[in-house]
Symmetry: C2
Subunit: 389 residues, 2 copies
């Protein structure tokens, strides 16, 4: 199934660009609906644009939900997101092939705009669903072209006024399990289980200066914000090493961005994460002297429910080689983290990433490990749903 | 007249965006044609998109030409370019008001795409005219949207196959005088005369790295090109101070430019200039270890003809307060420099810039100084044309 998706939103570099509410993402949504229909699952799009496909009726009894997202970072890889959705459909197929009759409904979900590539805030779909993001703020989020999320949704026939906390949909989810490709090299076996998501945040740094002619303005007369930005990049790396966290300036916008003009403004986005909030906060505070700093998102540490986590590690491990699956934290944010923070019992399965490369066209997982992921997910869903073969 | 232009291509910040072959620039071209027609000047657009308006027939005898350009840098000011064109028309009006009969034809020119804001190479119109830029290279120049100069011209009904060295047009220019707002604070009186244009160039630096997830990739595992770019920014400033030149990184493009991804590529443009080529070259060489460096443009020092320069300083000064006008070099490139390099006797008049700010919405010249510029230009043109009142 991942092969079918391979051509959608692909760029000339071999990477992907699957922005929320872009033509490529709409094609992926259409694919989701077709897969759901082919399995006679009951599907609908919720008020926030998340797609749900149910085996059984969750209105009668809350069910077990699995899935992930289909959007991508820009120039992202093929696995981050789609692997979890494709594996969910494969798990449904395996359960049916085995004649499994779930005692609880089983749902497949595709959350919208997990990466925040276009509008800047990640996990928009799950944050709106759980009330962690207000509909007012969501509607006003703006892409580089000045298009708001509200306008982008309206252009695709959605009603942005319907956005917001969706308790009826949330109530249908008794437990959520997200399968995802691992994004570092910490996982040794084919499949692992998440212990926690590091606290992480995104800050916009605005370095203001004075626009000037690059040829005629003496160095001493300049107020060049590029110099202060460069110092901040190096200071962030040094502070991250000292404090034992990670920090990245991966996005920059320069005004006016002329080769022959000293900039008037350099805006740069800092992504910072670590095992403990204290060190992350300290790094940002150290860098905040001088520029104008706005926190665009902050997600406290998420610890997945330990009993569920340990249980799933045992079930997943038993379905593979017998021993319990490895339990490990991650530095990446996920919809499962948003749901866990909202009180939904949640867990994550990771599939090994041999190179650790992610958010890159070179992102990769071995086919055998992906199949092991489906095997583990199938066992976990059967266990959580209860039922009989 | 500058007031009439004030609204064209203006952005929300009060700055200007007048890209070559954009709707704003076409409106400015239309304005030029109307002003020429209102004065019954014989106008035409040459093969390279430069606009000419003649008083008298330069086919009979080469004439004296004045003018400048109407395009702007992005977020540029109101004076850089338009002041020279507006002053040219005012000078024609003054000469006619005084009943002047020029012995040689007098032309007003508007060179196209002087700033290179859209296609990256400055002085495209004058470089093509003089053969300093090949038509093949010009046609292939590409803007950020991937549109080539050839496509942009074709979209406006021009034939890009006609681009290139235009000897008949060039032969009509016996001498060229460009009036321009000064772009530093070196000019003390209202009007000065240019001695030289510093050697200057533009280089693209490509820092290659490995795209990775900003949260899950350990610092030690990263190959982050943003760090090397930041080091280059600070190294450029230090080298410029040491070598007595100016160096600017004013334009940056990051791939993929995601807040949550280590970049795979940081491309940055270095603008470097100085009184002597040797120091400029040394600075670029020092910075070139590591990144992939491509020279996008290089202009050797231009020394304006000393006799013409000294003569015009006397004539301009006499028209104002009596003493010779100040003679000074500039770090900015101009079409007059391109023509001078092609062997056309050329000179420049500068109008005082009280703040020295240029390539910025805050660019400014006092009205009284602008009028002094017209007075000086009128005297210079009368002197060069010869003739009688």
């Amino acid at each position: 199934m991942l092969d079918v998706l391979a051509g959608i939103g692909r760029t000339r570099t071999g990477g992907y660009r699957r922005d929320a509410w872009s033509p490529a993402e709409l094609e992926l949504r259409e694919w989701f609906c077709q897969e759901a229909d082919a399995r006679a699952l009951t599907r609908y799009e919720d008020r926030n644009g998340n797609l749900w496909a149910w085996w059984g009726d969750p209105a009668e009894r809350p069910g077990v939900v699995t899935g992930s997202h289909l959007d991508s970072v820009r120039e992202g890889g093929a696995f981050d997101g789609p692997l979890g959705v494709v594996s969910a459909f494969h798990a449904v197929d395996r359960l049916r092939r085995d004649g499994f009759q779930p005692a609880r409904p089983l749902g497949v979900v595709c959350f919208t705009d997990e990466e925040g590539a276009r509008f800047g805030v990640p996990c928009v779909g799950s944050r709106l669903l759980t009330g962690a993001l207000t509909p007012e703020r969501a509607r006003g989020l703006t892409d580089e072209a000045g298009v708001t999320l509200a306008e982008a949704m309206r252009a695709q026939g959605r009603d942005p006024l319907s956005l917001g906390l969706d308790k009826p949909t949330l109530r249908q989810v008794a437990v959520f399990v997200e399968l995802h490709v691992e994004q570092g090299r910490a996982l040794r076996g084919p499949v692992g289980v998440a212990s926690a998501i590091w606290p992480h945040g995104r800050w916009r740094f605005d370095f203001h200066g004075t626009a000037d002619h690059a040829g005629t303005t003496a160095l001493a007369d300049r107020d060049d914000p590029m110099l202060r930005y460069a110092q901040a990049v190096l200071a962030a790396r040094a502070a991250a090493e000292r404090l034992g966290v990670v920090a990245t300036f991966g996005k920059v916008q320069v005004v006016p961005n002329n080769a022959n003009a000293v900039p008037s403004l350099v805006s740069a986005w800092l992504d910072a994460r670590g095992a403990r909030e204290e060190e992350v906060r300290r790094l940002v505070a150290e860098l905040s002297e001088g520029p104008e700093v706005v926190c665009e998102s902050w997600t406290p540490e998420v610890t997945f429910a330990p009993e569920l986590r340990d249980h799933l590690a045992t079930v997943a491990g038993a379905a593979l080689d017998g021993g319990a699956a490895q339990i490990l934290p991650t530095g990446a944010g996920h919809d499962a983290g948003i749901l866990a923070s909202a009180g939904v019992p949640s867990a994550m399965l990771f599939v090994r990433n041999p190179t650790g490369v992610s958010h890159s066209p070179a992102e990769f997982a071995e086919p055998a490990d992906c199949l092991a992921g489906v095997t583990a997910l199938t066992a976990v869903l059967a266990d959580l749903c209860g039922g009989r073969t």
